[in-house]
Symmetry: C2
Subunit: 473 residues, 2 copies
């Protein structure tokens, strides 16, 4: 990704969010050049790109303006969650999602499944096959509780891309990021503890809090800059919070990347109140910009950040290989890992280690990043076209999930029931809230390459949304 595309993307999302309104003058080329430390011609290229997309129009001698007549969906509103710690609900709807099995008759837009059909994944299945054929059958042995050393070496190397400096012995391989999250929570908290979460937030992490007996305090989140540092500061002042749990990079479900200065500010807050941070980075390597954004962990000096991630979104979820860099909580994390699953399946670890060592990860990610960004644009177009005009949609900066917000009285669960008979599945927004908020929202997966069948599915969802909105009126 080149500099001018990044800049165009940033300006584009500010325009789409309504930060710059139709008719507004946009920042001058010189001002942007200074602000972002790029050349004048880079800014000019960015503006030309915005012009091509109908987001900016030049006026001679006056600079660039937001076109007066443009029609683009607004960004989702800032979350306005509960103001006190709550017991987490919504398990029934999460269970519905978790019991879904692949069905060729259903267009599955609900789950967090990446596209696994790329030929750049082929060396991975070849590695799996090769290990199966080895006469000494290394895949059948118990693994070390830390995880296969060859894989930890590779993960440590990979983490350097996000500025994260941890050694192989600072890492524990887990059965997917879900185990990393669960192990991390139990390494820090006791039942009854209060955990601050970004809102909306990943349902798997919240259900883990529920299952382990913690209370969630949902912190408002901006669809561009992420969790509100201001609201978090107030919450830390008011409540005995033990842990902050969030997804700062390519957030699930909102798709934003927290700016670096806000990551630093969050860490400073955590230090001041001496709380731990669980940072979920599963989509971090799928940021559309390169180099990928830094982790909060990369700024962490005193080991209070537990970085959780996996290969489920970058390679394939069926492998169930994730990891945690638990910082100062390593000893406790090892105990929690041990009682949770003993060790992680050996063969997938060996295969991934080989895939990484042989240099197949970077080309695969390069390809997937570009594909997902194109799919985002296509999905955005379709939703803009097929959904009612009042629909608000997110502007993901990475990953493959779109967040769609409908008018406040809309009921996405009713929508899902209607869609059930039509061969389409979406994820209802309420599972992303500890307290069942976001009932008027839904999350749609755009990982697969756009096809006519997917367009038809999105059209069906849009039509069903419109029909339900008329009924509600």
């Amino acid at each position: 990704m080149t500099l001018y595309v990044n800049l165009a993307d940033l300006l584009g999302s500010r325009i789409e969010s309504g930060f710059y309104r139709p008719g507004d003058r946009l920042p001058s080329v010189r001002a942007l050049s200074v602000e972002h430390g790029v050349s004048l011609s880079t800014v000019q290229q960015a503006y030309r790109m915005l012009e091509d997309n109908g987001l900016a129009s030049p006026k001679p001698k006056s600079g660039y303006f937001v076109p007066a007549g443009r029609k683009a969906p607004a960004l989702p509103a800032v979350g306005r969650p509960a103001q006190r710690p709550v017991d987490i609900s919504q398990w029934d709807q999460v269970l519905e999602l978790a019991t879904a099995t692949p069905d060729p008759k259903v267009i599955q837009l609900a789950r967090g499944m990446p596209d696994i059909t790329s030929p750049t994944l082929r060396p991975l299945t070849q590695a799996l096959g090769k290990i199966s054929r080895r006469m000494d059958m290394p895949g059948l042995y118990y693994d070390n509780i830390y995880g296969t050393k060859a894989l930890r070496d590779q993960v440590a190397r990979l983490l350097l891309d996000s500025g994260t400096n941890v050694g192989p012995d600072d890492l524990v391989i887990t059965t997917g990021a879900q185990e990393a999250l669960s192990v991390s929570i139990r390494s820090v908290c006791e039942p009854g503890d209060i955990v601050a979460v970004d809102s909306p937030s990943f349902h798997g992490a919240m259900q883990a809090l529920k299952g382990l007996g913690m209370k969630a305090l949902e912190i408002p989140t901006d669809p561009i800059t992420g969790i509100s540092i201001e609201a978090l500061g107030l919450a830390l002042e008011q409540w005995p919070i033990k842990l902050i749990q969030l997804t700062p990079n390519c957030n699930n479900p909102l798709g934003y990347i927290m700016p670096e200065e806000r990551k630093r500010a969050l860490l400073t807050l955590a230090q001041r109140y001496d709380v731990a941070i669980i940072e979920d980075d599963v989509y971090g390597d799928i940021a559309y910009t390169y180099p990928r954004p830094r982790t909060i962990k990369s700024f962490d000096q005193d080991g209070r950040v537990l970085l959780c991630s996996s290969f489920s979104k970058t390679l394939a979820p069926g492998l169930r290989v994730g990891w945690v860099a638990p910082g100062r909580y390593l000893d406790r994390a090892l105990h929690m890992k041990y009682i949770s699953t003993g060790s992680t399946a050996t063969q997938p670890q060996l295969a991934i280690a080989e895939f990484l060592k042989d240099g197949h990860y970077e080309p695969h990610m390069r390809r997937m990043r570009a594909q997902y960004q194109r799919s985002r644009d296509q999905m955005t177009d379709w939703v803009t076209r097929y959904f009612p005009e009042s629909t608000r949609i997110s502007r993901p900066q990475g990953g493959f999930m779109l967040w769609v917000e409908l008018p406040e009285d809309f009921d996405a669960q009713r929508l899902n029931r209607v869609l059930h008979g039509q061969g389409v599945q979406i994820a209802v927004g309420s599972i992303f809230s500890a307290s069942g908020k976001y009932r008027n929202c839904l999350r749609m997966n755009f990982a697969a390459k756009p096809t006519a069948a997917i367009e038809e599915a999105v059209r069906k969802v849009g039509a069903a949304v419109a029909a339900l909105m008329i009924q509600t009126d």
Copy 2:
């Protein structure tokens, strides 16, 4: 396994336990025929076998007697654990075990590793390879939260061998039996609850109790008949016990199989006090007798037994595929499984399902059962020969673990440190107690086919034991 071998085994273990003492008259052929419902000639065959093994000698017209001068190791003493619920310790020593990596220079007698070199396992690695080569890559998809249906079908069929009647939808596939145990404990208990455990008991289950904040109440266990129903009854009367956790079949570490009537008695107690039972059956299919012993679950009418098992001991631990039949706790178990790992790795499940479906499991187990029984006899011989005379050893009825008890002031941890420099590893007894008892005991793995190198390792352990005993004197 034929009837007469079973009978000889039973009588042999009673002789070795000291139930029949040197010089005692053994039961008449007719009495045994009536008691066990077998023919007279079967009993006679059994006695001839005992005679061959030096455990019985005939006196004309008087029947069979225990030879006066016989020297055989005594069974371990009955456990005499703490009489009150305790917080569980010993994590440091368990961690030492869990961090052990395969090392060709070390004879590893510590871990619960089966022999995976049998050619009867070959179809399993072939199935893994075949799935890797499929173009539709089924191993890469998220699995259903219950686990792959094809595998649950096969596990349900397999369970019929133990009299256990559960359907595929009563089963949840887990990442090894460790996850099954952890999920089960959390499905029944809250932190602070008291759990009754057999003592000695599997360290993984006890560490799970520790990590989840429960207290363990260790119940004395007989080396032939298992957990003391009498002591358990008293404990249930005295303490607010929520759960009983035990391994009734081919117990780890003692190797006994609880008689059926005691399994029923235990279930009756559980009903009377309305407590749940977690039944760990990982070694159940490796009972040396066929058909394999019944599970407690097979007698369960009201869904209070959570049956936990895996393919880690029967096939290979690196696959990390286990299961739980959680009975009435199914809903909660699904939630706990979800937050623990989301789902289990897909490819190993598919491969095992194929291995079972194609009929490879039974021939493999037939072979392994016979091999492990021969290895038990060989290992028993070696320990009898190379360890000091006061050594007591278990008489496993299945599995591949031998329990060795040394005089009370012996320190197995010191032994392990001595052995560290000699290329041998054993498991120290204290990890099998919640309160650090059994320091004078050790557990040795006899899964591998006996070799001169293993004999030499056992000789080294015996010599080190003898040397430490002299130092202690």
